[in-house]
Symmetry: C2
Subunit: 209 residues, 2 copies
């Protein structure tokens, strides 16, 4: 697996797009696809796709294209998908609800195993087929359910405390939506989403037209 280590973050971030698009292509009954067609559907250049895929192995046939099923299996393995990662969502606002019901996650092999909220009125309710637990039981339930990845959708002021409890419970992946910089140990993989980035990027380009 050594060669996977050298894949750039930019490439890793594109792999899920390749993966998802290839699965759509497969559903359409296509068995072989060219880098041109794949690039057209994803919105990147064929050169970029050939470069990305070449960075972790030899796929497809020159002048023929990529074998869809093989490529899906390989990219899935590289991304560590379908290992049934257990994920927990902490904070059941609208975003927490949206994520708990986001179909793509299950199809990628992520298993919603627990949901937590501070509101007693929500505790005991079902969301995405999973019971909502009191945030007071976060550590206990996260450990019991063997949670691998914690999704933080609480307000900024509670996010660090939630992250600390998740890590204390053995969670090694944190996906943070709270608009605040979290501090976690080096052996914890933290990915923070900032919804204002996409909008600001559009604003940047619009203001130049």
């Amino acid at each position: 697996m050594k060669e996977h280590i050298v894949i750039s973050k930019a490439t890793i971030d594109r792999l899920p797009l390749y993966f998802r698009t290839l699965r759509l292509v497969q559903q359409e009954g296509t068995e072989i696809i060219s880098s041109e067609e794949l690039g057209r559907r994803i919105g990147v250049t064929p050169e970029q796709i050939r470069k990305d895929l070449a960075s972790f192995g030899e796929f497809g046939k020159k002048g023929v294209g990529y074998f869809v099923r093989e490529l899906i299996r390989n990219i899935g393995e590289i991304l560590g998908l379908h290992r049934n990662w257990n994920i927990a969502i902490v904070g059941v606002g609208h975003l927490g609800w949206a994520l708990a019901n986001y179909k793509n996650f299950a199809s990628l092999g992520f298993n919603l195993a627990a949901v937590f909220d501070v509101d007693p009125a929500k505790v005991g309710q079902l969301i995405g087929g999973v019971e909502i637990y009191s945030i007071d039981r976060l550590e206990e339930v996260a450990r019991e359910r063997n949670i691998h990845i914690g999704v933080i959708t609480v307000p900024a002021e509670s996010a660090q405390e939630v992250a600390d409890k998740l890590v204390a419970a053995g969670v090694r992946g944190i996906w943070n939506f709270a608009p605040i910089k979290l501090n976690v140990a080096d052996n914890v993989r933290l990915v923070s989403e900032d919804l204002s980035v996409g909008l600001s990027s559009i604003s940047y380009y619009l203001s130049r037209q």
Copy 2:
């Protein structure tokens, strides 16, 4: 403004993080901040910050730091924020609700001007202080409200049709959350969010521990 054109996309994507962090710093009463402290709070290296900021001008004093208020104003101008961009959200599922109530947008100068949904039961309701209109009136209302940016939170199968209607109504910025590749004219700025990318990135690293 020529020099702004050459800023790399990676830098542009970091600017909103700088902007948001600097505003927090300002609220704490700090007037000058070093690249080390700013980097620590954002989670990037001081070198990266100095490189990013140097790419669009001279800020701060060597050995002193950056002047927070000045830097906030400059980054805001570069990102084209506070021009009161009118945004419309199309599709009031949980994600649409979450985005309509996302406080950060207003604080960046984005004005939620219209919301649309296909469900007659939702039409007429208020969301984020704005009335929900029938999606049948998308073109008419988007034009009337001078919508600059359309946020697409409808299911994948309706996303392209919604994008086409927004563009037909003069919308030049599209922020797409539907898990599908949209096709828009070259004069339209399209940013697509893929929520499975962050999670797959975590999965990639966890599977290597």
